[in-house]
């Protein structure tokens, strides 16, 4: 059990204050009722089997932040880092700020933020390994770094940037509410260390000493509707109508005319020029660019090969071109193998890949991985049965034919399900740029276009296919490209209309990556025109290859843009700290090599 210091001051202890039955989201403050099986269980902190004596052990606790008092001394950060023995590049709690007005009426509002131990923790639902648990004790959302395999999905879904991916350790870790201190009635280290009376802690919906407000909104804080966070704010001092960020996010917060405390995120258009920025297309998500595109191409190619004969394209039947058919299937298996290897190496701990199946009930990542794994295995079986029938000469032919059909249809449905769940991964409210049906349209558009192009390349170069095949396969290519283009058009329109972080992403798309964005759009249009021409006139291997080059190139650039453009609903950073722009500058100039600067190593 945690031992309080001999002369621990009174302010370090959590007061025992009256509270309402339910919180403002309608959830009981008491996490489990009297007599529940979860009561009286040890948290086993550091193998200590004793049970804490805190009388409010089974009540939801939360942080209270008084923005009027915070002076950005960073004592809370330091106390947290010291308590949790964190390296310089990881901070469970961080202090950022927004500023407004102009000299001499300049106003700066500091925000100290860690995990909010939400009522509806999206990290818990999204984690494929089940590393997260919401405990009945204090309502704490705790994460086990020993279970985590470092995919970083929780860092995508959390609107508050609470989970921290440590590329050195290869796993995520986060604020643990200092539950060991809570067990003996002490406030978490950060709240106990606060010099200015800005950060406090207690049972949720109780009003701490010297406070008046229990707000859930603050300029720069994402909407509480996503996760129902357990943090309450006070911000009584008047602020300018518009507050700006000092980090590189092109966002500002504008006061709602009808609600004085509500500040809406709005794009901060600063007239930046249109650029290519091709080097910045590279990101730590590069393996995902390859994995998603290759998987979509392979599923699409298999779809063409398997369904083609049913739709009258007899050329795709195994009997028509046995060697070519077998070669193509084996080729698909080979490139999907490489894609899977890349996606596994993207993890912080690749050797724990099998934990991705742990959360099939809730996590789209688990479902996608399961879908791809089933597809890959059934594709392997189908390939084995059709490409190497000599191995099964001893097998009754009727059973072999049935095995071919079962594995083929199974692979088809598993592949399509995997692509669907792949798109669900990106439907994240905390990432508005991704949270649009365009993702689904784009992924299935790529299934059609890339799949048909892959099959066409094999048959036009290695087979004896004529212009007719190019005409036939141009139709799915065209359909895929049109589907993607329609999705992109609606995406751009909805981002602009929706405002906030989504509009900020679109602003970056039109400026920092402006030329690249338009080149991608032009590539898409040109590809569609070319596919239309091939569908009309037919074509040979060379014209098909040119189309494939254009479509694959456009798809790679488009997918890379998809990953680098996202502006999450994270908390505001500072000029140096939690600032993408500064981190990039530090890497370019070598400052990042100094570990004391705390720039996260550029690895995943």
């Amino acid at each position: 059990m945690f031992e309080p210091r001999p002369q621990e001051p009174a302010y370090a202890f959590i007061p025992n204050a009256p509270h309402p039955e339910t919180n403002r989201y309608g959830k009981p403050v008491e996490t489990v009722p009297e007599g529940h099986a979860l009561r009286g269980v040890s948290l086993n902190i550091n193998d200590d089997s004793s049970v804490g004596t805190n009388p409010n052990r089974y009540k939801q606790h939360g942080f209270y932040f008084n923005a009027d008092n915070c002076i950005a001394c960073h004592a809370c950060e330091a106390a947290c880092s010291e308590k949790n023995n964190l390296p310089a590049h990881i901070a469970f709690r961080s202090v950022g700020y927004v500023e407004g007005g102009s000299f001499p009426a300049y106003v700066r509002m500091n925000i100290s933020m860690a995990c909010n131990h939400c009522d509806d923790p999206v990290c818990l639902k999204g984690c494929p390994t089940l590393a997260y648990t919401k405990f009945a004790e204090y309502g704490a959302v705790l994460q086990d770094p020993d279970i985590c395999f470092g995919c970083g999905y929780c860092t995508w879904v959390c609107p508050y940037n609470a989970p921290q991916l440590d590329p050195v350790a290869g796993h995520v870790s986060k604020c643990n509410m200092c539950v060991d201190r809570l067990e003996v009635g002490l406030k978490p280290a950060c709240a106990a260390a606060c010099l200015a009376g800005a950060l406090d802690f207690g049972v949720i919906e109780t009003t701490p000493e010297h406070r008046e407000q229990l707000e859930t909104r603050l300029p720069g804080f994402p909407t509480p509707e996503i996760t129902h966070p357990n943090i309450r704010f006070q911000q009584a001092k008047s602020l300018p109508r518009e507050m700006r960020r000092t980090d590189s996010m092109p966002l500002r917060y504008v006061r709602d005319e009808h609600h004085a405390n509500v500040y809406t995120p709005t794009v901060a258009e600063d007239g930046r020029p249109k650029q290519w920025n091709l080097k910045k297309l590279r990101s730590r998500e590069d393996p995902l660019v390859i994995f998603t595109l290759v998987s979509q191409a392979v599923v699409g190619a298999f779809l063409m090969l398997f369904l083609g004969p049913l739709f009258g394209v007899t050329m795709f039947a195994h009997a028509a071109h046995p060697l070519l058919h077998a070669t193509l299937l084996l080729g698909l298996l080979g490139i999907e193998t490489v894609a899977l290897v890349l996606s596994t190496l993207h993890l912080g701990q690749p050797h724990r890949f099998y934990r991705a199946f742990n959360n099939l009930r809730n996590s789209p990542v688990s479902r996608e991985v399961a879908g791809i794994a089933v597809f890959y295995n059934l594709l392997g079986a189908y390939t084995l049965f059709t490409a190497l029938p000599g191995l099964f000469a001893w097998f009754p032919q009727a059973m072999l034919a049935m095995a071919v059909q079962v594995s083929g249809w199974g692979a088809l449905f598993a592949g399509l399900a995997a692509i669907y769940f792949m798109s669900r991964i990106y439907r994240i409210p905390a990432r508005p740029f991704w949270n649009h049906w365009q993702v689904l349209a784009s992924f299935f558009g790529n299934v059609l276009s890339l799949g048909a192009l892959t099959v066409g390349l094999a048959y036009l170069w290695l087979g004896e296919a004529g212009a007719g095949l190019a005409q036939t396969l141009s139709l799915p290519v065209l359909a895929g490209l049109v589907l993607e283009a329609v999705g992109l058009a609606y995406h751009a329109r909805d981002l602009t209309r929706g405002g906030g972080e989504g509009a900020a992403s679109h602003y970056l798309q039109r400026t920092d990556f402006g030329y690249t964005y338009w080149a991608r759009n032009a590539g898409l249009a040109l590809s569609a025109l070319m596919a239309l021409a091939l569908a009309w006139l037919g074509g040979g291997a060379w014209s098909w290859s040119l189309l494939a080059l254009l479509v694959f190139g456009t798809a790679i650039v488009g997918r890379a843009l998809f990953y680098v453009l996202v502006v999450p609903t994270t908390m505001p950073g500072a000029f140096f700290w939690r600032n993408r722009g500064f981190e990039q500058h530090a890497r370019e100039t070598g400052l990042a090599d100094m570990p004391q600067l705390g720039v996260v190593p550029d690895a995943h």
Binding site: L345, Q349, Y376, N377, L388
Partner: protein, 110 residues
């Protein structure tokens, strides 16, 4: 299961180490290692990556040019999956076998 890291006294540690280096404990650790290799190799390796090995069969049945391509992919896949599996075995061995006295022959503790 007793762990070396839990022991504070010099005498206790000396007794522990004497038992730890005994032939019986060595044998038990070897069995545990074998169990981990089987667990990772079959359940977490072959069960997921066997389609890559279909390429090896294809190489056997193909002409030389195709065979080389299949073998190249196969070698890459085997290399990477082997590396991943070895790390898994190593981590589990360190976490569950190394520095502990094993009580049951062949029990990998996993």
């Amino acid at each position: 299961m007793r762990r070396l890291e839990d022991l504070q006294g010099e005498f206790e540690r000396a007794v522990f180490l004497a038992a730890y280096h005994s032939p019986q404990q060595r044998r038990r650790r070897h069995w545990a290692l074998l169990g981990l290799v089987v667990k990772h190799g079959l359940l977490r390796g072959l069960a997921f990556s066997w389609p890559a090995y279909v390429l090896a069969l294809a190489a056997v049945y193909s002409d030389t040019s195709h065979a080389l391509a299949y073998l190249a992919v196969l070698l890459l896949a085997v290399g990477v999956s082997g590396m991943i599996l070895i790390r898994g075995v190593r981590d589990d061995y360190r976490a569950r076998v190394q520095g502990r006295l094993r009580e049951k022959t062949g029990h990998s503790g996993v």
